[in-house]
Subunit: 304 residues, 2 copies
DNA sequence: ACCACGGATGAAACTTACTTTCACGGAGCG
DNA sequence: CGCTCCGTGAAAGTAAGTTTCATCCGTGGT
């Protein structure tokens, strides 16, 4: 058996490669070698026979098969044709920016900008592609029906959590965010059936967030995890798992791509929730916009 | 017509399917049955095994192999992956999502996600395109040489400001962010020549941010504005203006696109700054990553 | 009418690719 | 120190793909 019976479904419509990248850290070393080969050149991998690929990855055919199963395929032939399809679909970017590539040392700013924009945009697109609308729908449903919503996140993911809280609050949902673990734990302990706890962690391994989510769950609240890695520990304490698809480079490890990917998911959830009651949400947005109008200056002239 | 295993080269540029259609009349009856199956549903054919396809075409495997050779393939596996690739390529391009379009009232979540992702990714790309590398360069320069860096932003832009501060801080630059206007004003008053103040405001009209930036400027600090509107009030108090390119829709006025666009710019600046001293930045990132390692759990491995 | 010929075809032999099983070895745990 | 569990590849086993070959059938020559 693979994973727990989560609601995250075995769903990788938006790109097999992306899906594999996400699973990469949860694979065994030998399988990771295979995965890296596959990800780095899907078309080439599709051309190879299983023995060939195994040799190239310095492992045995058995491991390649295990890898296929790990990423949700029936066997090698299926992986092969999926890879071929995938490779065909992705039209190579015009110039030679390597996806997820590091910034070359001699790069000038224009190059840097181009590379970053490419990767950032990519993260957004790929995240959206692989998002499972069914799971989103359920999460939206849960949020709409929730008595209280709490959002947790540490460090960089904390910004995202905070952002989500603010958005929900703004359309009149009772949402909270606690930067402090102790406060968060305390608050989580007060959750109950019908409440929703959302934990955000790129790596899926942030113990603070996991603990709080666990606490919330033990009290009967529904739990949602937002992470880049579908088999990371955080998914064990989540009723619903939503994943991002950001490929981080070593150099940019404080990187933005994961943040953008997370925000994209948040945006989808937010709009989904808001769409449930357009009138009310719109009214709330207007009211809140009015509230800060006094803090604005001039006509915002985009004058000619 | 007889079939010509002649010098027809293994070159079918216009697409494999077209190629096969063209050859169809020159094939033997049994091969034609195979060809028709393949042409009518390439994706399906790619999924089938040779025995399967042979049965479906009411013929033997041998004939399928002959068919493969007739159309210039080495064997069945090659045909299969070529078909998969072909089928994938001829998938309809994403449908007509209007750029900057609002979400139609009846939209289901899948549509919403697609629209959002499209607009978000677009905002990132377009922002990068219109970003002036020369100005970025100057800003990076200023930040690298700055004694102190302060970042201001209110509301949603506050998250971005905070994020930027955190990033800079993480690579060892002396950066600050103040959520509170009074504190920010006080701090700005203490800036001087050689310091840098960065104000973030999507609309460019947030008086709090403008005031603080003004204060900083009056003390001799360099000022940077990040806004979506190149002629908004904030640009009057900025030495350097960086712009985003997010088209906000009415409905999503709490919108994410502008946030993502801002973050993209921040990302570019950050990487630009970090690139100035790769060794130091990398070391700092490693050290800070180590610092939170204890707050992480397990290897993210979960199977069985 | 008969036969010789050649191409088309599928059965079966054969080869290669894929999958499963199993035993080994090392890491972590009591 | 011994235990278990997990990752691993060797090898056995199965299925897929390929080749060979005998048969069939239509054609054209005798």
């Amino acid at each position: 058996m693979v994973k727990s019976p989560k609601i995250s479904a075995s769903h990788e419509p938006g790109g097999l490669i992306v899906h594999i990248s996400g699973l990469l850290p949860s694979l065994s070393p030998a399988e990771q070698r295979v995965a890296r080969l596959v990800v780095s050149d899907p078309a080439d991998a599709a051309r190879r026979t299983i023995t060939d690929l195994a040799t190239a990855a310095e492992t045995s055919e058995a491991t390649v098969i295990r890898f296929c199963r790990s990423v949700g395929m029936d066997g090698y032939p299926q992986l092969r044709i999926r890879l071929a399809a995938e490779a065909a679909r992705r039209v190579e970017p015009p110039d030679a920016r390597v996806v997820g590539g590091d910034i070359p040392p001699g790069a000038d700013l224009a190059q840097i900008i181009a590379t970053i924009a490419f990767n950032d945009a990519r993260a957004v697109e790929e995240t959206a592609e692989q998002l499972d609308p069914a799971v989103c729908e359920q999460v939206v449903e849960a949020i709409v029906g929730a008595g209280r919503i709490e959002v947790y996140g540490a460090g960089a993911s904390g910004f995202v959590a905070s952002d989500f809280q603010q958005k929900l609050h703004r359309i009149g949902r009772m949402a909270f965010y606690f930067p402090d673990v102790h406060t968060a734990l305390t608050s989580a302990a007060l959750l109950g059936k019908g409440d929703i706890a959302v934990g955000i962690s790129h790596s899926g391994t942030t113990s603070d967030v996991i603990e709080v989510l666990e606490q919330a769950r033990s009290r009967g609240a529904g739990t949602v995890a937002l992470t880049n890695f579908p088999r990371s520990p955080i998914t064990d304490v989540a009723d619903f798992v939503l994943t991002t698809a950001a490929r981080e480079t070593t150099y940019r490890s404080g990187a933005m791509a994961s943040r953008l990917a997370q925000l994209t998911v948040i945006d989808c959830l937010f709009v989904g929730v808001a769409a449930r009651n357009r009138a009310r949400a719109r009214r709330a947005l207007e009211v809140t916009a009015d509230a800060v109008r006094a803090r604005r200056v001039g006509p915002g002239r985009r004058r000619g």
